[in-house]
């Protein structure tokens, strides 16, 4: 199972901060994962938004990046604190 983390507005879209998901074997990279989750969550494009970056195992990656079914995968909208 993969650990999927939803930050910022994506935690509102999904109604949760994180979940364990069984990613279908056919989903092998981040671009496919975005499309799959967007449909799964009826997110209306929220996962496809280019301003949303992905991190795999705590490192930011560039699409399309390989994903494995045991990764921790974080969806990261634009950041900012203070």
């Amino acid at each position: 199972m993969a650990d999927i983390l939803y930050f910022g507005r994506l935690s509102d879209v999904t109604g949760k901060d994180s979940e364990k998901l069984d990613i279908p074997a056919a989903i092998t990279d981040t671009a496919a994962l975005r499309r799959w989750l967007d449909e799964e969550k009826s997110a209306d494009g929220a996962f496809l938004d280019k301003s949303v970056r992905l991190a795999i195992n705590n490192e930011i990656v560039v699409d399309p990046h390989p994903v494995s079914r045991s990764d921790e995968i974080a969806f990261m909208p634009p950041v900012g604190g203070g």
């Binding site: 930050f7 910022g8 705590n58 990261m76 909208p77 900012g80 604190g81 203070g82």
Partner: protein
């Protein structure tokens, strides 16, 4: 030193502790960011902040290392909240110490610009009608860009 914490902190106590740590410095500059109780379109009832550990800490450590490289600071301190906060609660505390004031002012300013635009946090304003995720404003990005412009001018 950095602390990212879901627990409330007291900025006056943080300054007192920093003064001890920075003993011998000729200048200390601090900045405290507080939760506002209003936004452009109405009341704010609270603030919710998310971080992504250890990416958040790693980034802040890097910014601190960069500040140390750029200015002759003798001590730096950052405290940043996560979780749920009420209006007027402190969100962030930045302190910089140096022999003379300019380095401390600039290092604190630089670190705040980093925290506003690049630090791995997500911030939601809670309002009576729900909530809204706050992303950096154009002004925050241009404030932050000042530091890289300085580099280009020097080059």
């Amino acid at each position: 030193m950095i602390t990212i914490t879901p627990h409330p902190f007291n900025a006056a106590e943080a300054l007192e502790a920093f003064q001890k740590e920075a003993r011998g410095a000729g200048a200390i500059v601090t900045f405290t960011g507080l939760v506002r109780d209003t936004a452009s379109d109405g009341d704010v009832t609270g603030l919710h902040l998310q971080a992504y550990s250890p990416m958040t800490e790693r980034g802040v450590e890097k910014a601190i290392a960069e500040a140390r490289k750029r200015w002759p600071v003798t001590a730096l301190r950052i405290i940043h909240r996560t979780g749920d906060m009420a209006p007027f609660d402190p969100i962030v505390f930045v302190a910089a110490a140096s022999a003379h004031r300019r380095a401390a002012f600039e290092a604190a300013d630089f670190l705040m610009d980093y925290l506003k635009t690049e630090a791995v946090f997500w911030k939601k304003e809670l309002t009576p009608t729900g909530g809204r995720w706050i992303e950096p404003r154009a002004e925050d990005y241009s404030d932050s860009a000042r530091w890289s412009q300085t580099d280009t001018e020097k080059a």
